[in-house]
Structure formats: C-alpha cells, structure tokens
Symmetry: C2
Subunit: 297 residues, 2 copies
Amino acid sequence: MQGALIAVDWGTSNFRAYRLAADGSTLDETTGPDGISTVPPGGFPAVLARHFGGWRAAEPHLPLVMAGMVGSRNGWSEAPYAPLPADATALRERLHRVALEDGGEALIVPGVSGVIDGVSDVIRGEETLAIGTGLADGIILSPGTHPKWIEMRSGRIARFQTFMTGEIFAVMSEHSLLGRLMTASAGEADDLAGFDRGLDLAEHPAGVTRALFAVRSEVLLGRLPAAQARPFLSGLLIGVEIAGAKASFGLPKSMTLLAEGAKAVFYERALARHGVSARRMAGDRALVAGLRTILLG
Amino acid sequence: MQGALIAVDWGTSNFRAYRLAADGSTLDETTGPDGISTVPPGGFPAVLARHFGGWRAAEPHLPLVMAGMVGSRNGWSEAPYAPLPADATALRERLHRVALEDGGEALIVPGVSGVIDGVSDVIRGEETLAIGTGLADGIILSPGTHPKWIEMRSGRIARFQTFMTGEIFAVMSEHSLLGRLMTASAGEADDLAGFDRGLDLAEHPAGVTRALFAVRSEVLLGRLPAAQARPFLSGLLIGVEIAGAKASFGLPKSMTLLAEGAKAVFYERALARHGVSARRMAGDRALVAGLRTILLG
C-alpha cells in the first residue's frame, strides 16, 4: 500500500521509524537501540539507510520527518528552538532540513523553549507528543527521566515545566546514603504502601530536601520497612512534582497522561489525591499523530 | 598539667581526641582518618589505644566521653537515641558504656530522635554540638552533607530538621545530567553570581525538582555561563533549605552557624536575604564544650 510519510522518533537511547499511510495507519515499522548517543559524528544518514533504505528506494519522494534529540546539539544537526506559544503551524514553519545519502532530505521538528515563572525551560520531542494528543485545551503529562507538564491553550503549547523526578530518583537510589538502605521489592502491597507514605510527605512544610531524609530516619527507627523505602522515594518525588505543577498551572479535573503500565498506575494514584483523573494515551501513538499533523496539517 | 577528661569526636570518616583540663582548655590533641567506616569489627578499642594509650597510662582514671557515629548501628556499639526534648542532663543520664582494653570504660553520648512536623528525624553528634554552643534559646545550624537545624528552648534541644542539601549537591554534581555541563570555577565573582542566581530560584512556585532543571536549560540557552552552574546548584539547594527551615521554624534575627571558611560565607550570604545574621562558632570548639558540659554539667 502506498505511503504518505516516514515518521521517525529518534531519542538519546532508541530509534523507531514508521511508514505511514495517508490516514495515519502504520504500514511498516522498524526499531533499534540506535539512539543518538550511539551514533558517531557523520553517521546519522547511514542509520536511516540501514533501517529503511528499502522504503526510500520504493517510494523516494515520501516526506521524512523526525522528532526528538536527533535535533539537539548532540544529535544530527541542531534544530533551533521555537518560542512559546507554539502550534503545529509554527513548528511546521521551522522544520529543520538535513541532507540524506540518496540526495533527498529529512525534516527535524524543532524543540520549544520559553521562560515560564521567571526561568527558562526547554522541550525536544514532547512538543510533537503534545500536538499528537489532539488536545486543544488542557494539561498533558509526559513522565520519564525528566517529566514534562505541558499546558495547551487553543491548540497551542502555551506553557510547560520540566521536573527532574526520574533522574533524582535514579541518582539518589544508586548513589546516595538512601539507596544503601533500600531492599528489593516485597510485592505490590508493600510497593503501594511505601508509595502512599511518600505521597503523604510530599507537602512537608520544610520541603523535599528535608522530607528525603525521612527515607533514612523512618527505616532507621523501624517506622518504615526497608522494602518500602524505594517506592516511598518514588511517591515523595512524584507527589512533589504534582504539588509543584499544581502551584504553577492549577490542576484540572482531568488531564492527559502519556504513560502505560506501572508508571501510569502510580501517577494515576498520585493524581487521584488531588481529585484529578487521567486519560491515558500511548506515547508512540501521540508521536506518530504529532509528526503527521506537524507535516501535513 | 593534670587532665579532667578525654573528649572524642568519632565520625564516619574522621577521628579526633582531646585531653582537656578542668577549665575546658586543650592539653593534648590527636587526630587521624580513623573514621568508623575504616574500623573492622571489634577494632574500636585498639584505635583508642593507638591514639592515646599514653594519656590513659599516665592518668588511668580520666573519664573518656565520645560523640558521633561511633554510637551508631555501624559504630562501636549502638547508643539508643534520647527522645525530644533533650538537655545535657538527659544526655548524661543516657550515656552508653563500652569496655576498653585496659579494663576501663568509655561513655558514648546518645543521638536524639523525634517526630517533627509529622515525620521522624535523627541526629547523632550534633546534639553535642548544640549543647556546646551554650545557646539557651534560638536556632543552630550545622551545615554539611546533611545539614541540621536545631531549635533550643530553655537550654533543651526542642526540635530539629535534617536537610539532604550536601548529599544532593554531591550526587547531582557527580552523577546527573546537570553535572556533565558544569565546568570548573572561573573565580569568586562567577561563584557568587551563580550562587545568587540559584538563590533567586529557591522559592520557584513549581518547587525545587522543577528549578533543578533550570541548571540545564539556562546553560543550554546561553543564559547562565557553564562556570556558574555549580555555584548555581549550591545556591538553589541552600536557598531551598533555608526556605524550608523558615516554613518549619520561622527564622530569628540572628542564629548560630557551626561553620567556617567558604561554607560559612555562602550560608551567611543566603541567610542575609532573609534578614538573618549568623554568629559563627567553630565546630570543634562546640564539640569539646558540649562533651564537657554533658559529662560534668
């Protein structure tokens, strides 16, 4: 069946490409661990040729559009950030062109930067997810190493905030005193109990840098089982993130959550404390829809 | 000259002992990298014998009192925590006895634990510093890996809060994405400029896990020199600590700061933003005074 575009999600650790029909359905798909951190200088076109040289040979005029860290300073070529507010048209007008080995070209979606609450922030990849949700007005959350909260107004990315939740969790678990007293999961009941205890502390008056020490003191004093220390840290950091987003955006009754599986379950549990329900959407679906909308309108 | 007691400060990484006269003046002193983390099981008495076997031989009946992590679960012998509120008399009544190789005994000052603002906290070593300041009413700050804010009321340790400031700074500098973009110090002017920019963000409405990402975005967008990224992180975390302490304790016009050198300068700078002046006191002086007061009254 005839394709309408090739859509590429090219991040730090992973590569994924889709050959899409005009109606947005996926005709072919290819994926691999070829994230930009693994690509040598000048090696980007060869990764595309290896993954879908056949698609290009069969349909050489298909537009090829890419999102993610491929457009960062450490990627193929830096696609300058679009300013806030940004809609699909603004991103389309700023698509960044790079040359392919076969004489054609590829288009990279720019990230978005802005000054929000007095300090700068940047997204790269999540702008495409946000457009792909189709949400005109509301809040989108894309969890991960650096969770992004994005506010849409009239179909435009109006504001966003990046939290370091996932990275703080990882470095504190692996490299701090807190990590040394964490034991393996004792099952779902303990995971949820620990997570809830962490949520309880998220609005501690002395703040999160104080509440973090409670992971240690609560275990030391026998008030928290060591098996609950890891989900406790997760609950604390996710709770702090939601409280921060609440202070900055206000929280709606319902928001869009770009997550699945355990991560979605934990965020939904934390959001429910604030009376917020989540509409889940798979990230890959949002990405494909976003690239199609940015390219074709 | 005749001694009145031997005072030992025995932490995780360091060992320091003093032979003190009745008036508190130091007659002899010995120090070394013999922190408890370096001592094999059962090896504690031998460290004392090596450091001051001569003092013991000359004055075998001098009382010997120790503070710090030597009384923790990973130390010589666990000295159970005293409850809040705790004064010098309460700590004296709970001195924990351990046997020496020469047939004598040593006394370990207990730590203090309590539930403050709904969550537990522990100190071990700082209770002795607090007593040693001689402060009857007010706030004491002992900065470090885990800064402790201690509130004294009528000569008793009434409340305290531990912040993870120093450890978060270390793990984020060494192991996170933020650390990778930090360059070496460009001198004092840049250090202070970066520190002040970090302080500016300490009360960001979306919280510190959001503000941390600004280290990255501000450098990426050319709004913060990479040489200022490290002091920026320091300013942000110290500012968050002070804001948290303010919310929990309220801040006085003047408080006691157990720090010297660059660390004291930075804390004083951050406290000055809240109209708080600091009375500096050297930690070793507070420790010796505290051990003497706890032992002798």
